[in-house]
Chain length 203, copies 2
DNA sequence: TTGACATGTTATCAGTCGATTACTACTCTC
DNA sequence: GAGAGTAGTAATCGACTGATAACATGTCAA
């Protein structure tokens, strides 16, 4: 070979490698769902060997748990950053922050899919905790009313469904979908392209 | 044994057996999700052998496809039955019809989970078609405005998330969940108990 | 009643995939 | 510079599970 192939991944502090793997795992899990993804795919996406992924996180379920927790933490973080400013624009700023997550590979699909995980003994509690933390934030920290909270969350769940169903692929080509996205996601139009993890995903 | 065990399942027309298996599969898939369920579990729930399930439906994915299609068809059917009557009560009647699906074992979880299936090459198109058919019905046949449609669907997706997350288990015990369910599901309070497929589901 | 088709079973396989084991190599401190 | 801890790999296993093959039994028309 003319290319100087590195046999093993370049050395890295375990904490950094963890974060790198989490980001890769988010993209892959987001694209192919929990069960549809193998630890080997995650490993290859992260540029390390499959056993190393397992050893760093213990089990596949624990890895996914970490992915979910990281995703929800990220949402809360973004929401919190959207709080300061005129109160009447708060809701829109938060919605925009949510829409902006679309650009983070896999982040939104992971969250969207997490709402279907309640039945899993191990992942269920984590998903519930994540959902609950968002609800609490909106209600307590952002100080939405009960009604506003419900509407905000409902709208978010609709976005999740659209993402989970991969309806974004039909944006621009099917009227109903375009209409839907435009009315759900502020400023989605420009972002929506190049949205979900590419490759082996047939629309 | 004192009990007279039947060695093989009693004879039945294949069409009836199909429906029986579909109902059983809905309950099991609804409780444990697509990947979390084995064809053997479905078979045992339906009282037949595992190979027979596979042979009747071809593959596990095709079985699940049939389950999803049956569930969405059922929704549309129930919605359509809720149409006649005073127009101002239409939305509430449809919401009630949706809530009533809670009593059909697995029906709502299956639908809820289907919105996370877009990434699957085989199940994705089916899930999208189901979602789209509901949207179309609400918009065209029930004649909701664009705004009303979005709100109605969003509320439905919130219900789906609550169901998918198995939050109903906390109804009555946690204030946020009780508040949520009561405001999402008309008359949910009385129905909500004995809701999701029992047994091996740890809350 | 017979034979052809439909309904069902038991036994078994083959691929997949998460996990384990045993080993290598880098790096950093003392 | 030695050696101990850390970062990583290759090889392999064992269990699960969807699918297939081969076979058995019931049903019904002519």
């Amino acid at each position: 070979m003319s290319v100087d192939e590195t046999r093993t991944a370049p050395r890295m502090k375990a904490a950094d490698r963890r974060e790198l793997i989490l980001a890769a795992a988010t993209a892959v899990f987001g694209a192919k769902s929990y069960v549809g993804t193998t630890t080997d795919e995650v490993a290859r996406a992260a540029g390390v060997s499959q056993p190393y992924v397992v050893r760093l996180f213990g089990t596949k379920a624990k890895l996914y748990t970490a992915v979910i927790e990281r995703a929800y933490a990220r949402i809360i973080e973004d929401f919190r950053r959207a709080l300061p400013g005129p109160p009447e624009g708060r809701r829109d700023r938060m919605a925009t922050a949510y829409a902006a997550l679309l650009e983070e590979r896999g982040m939104l699909p992971v969250i969207a899919n997490s709402t279907a995980l309640g039945g899993d003994p191990e992942l269920g509690p984590v998903a519930r905790a994540g959902f609950n933390s968002v609800w609490r934030f909106v209600r307590d920290e952002a100080e939405f009313s009960e009604q506003e909270t419900r509407d905000f969350m409902a709208n978010g769940m609709l976005i999740n469904a659209i993402v989970g169903l991969r309806l974004v692929g039909a944006y621009g080509t099917e009227a109903a979908v375009t209409e839907m996205l435009d009315s759900c996601l502020p400023g989605a139009g420009d972002r929506v392209r190049g949205l979900l993890p590419a490759a082996d995903e047939p629309w």
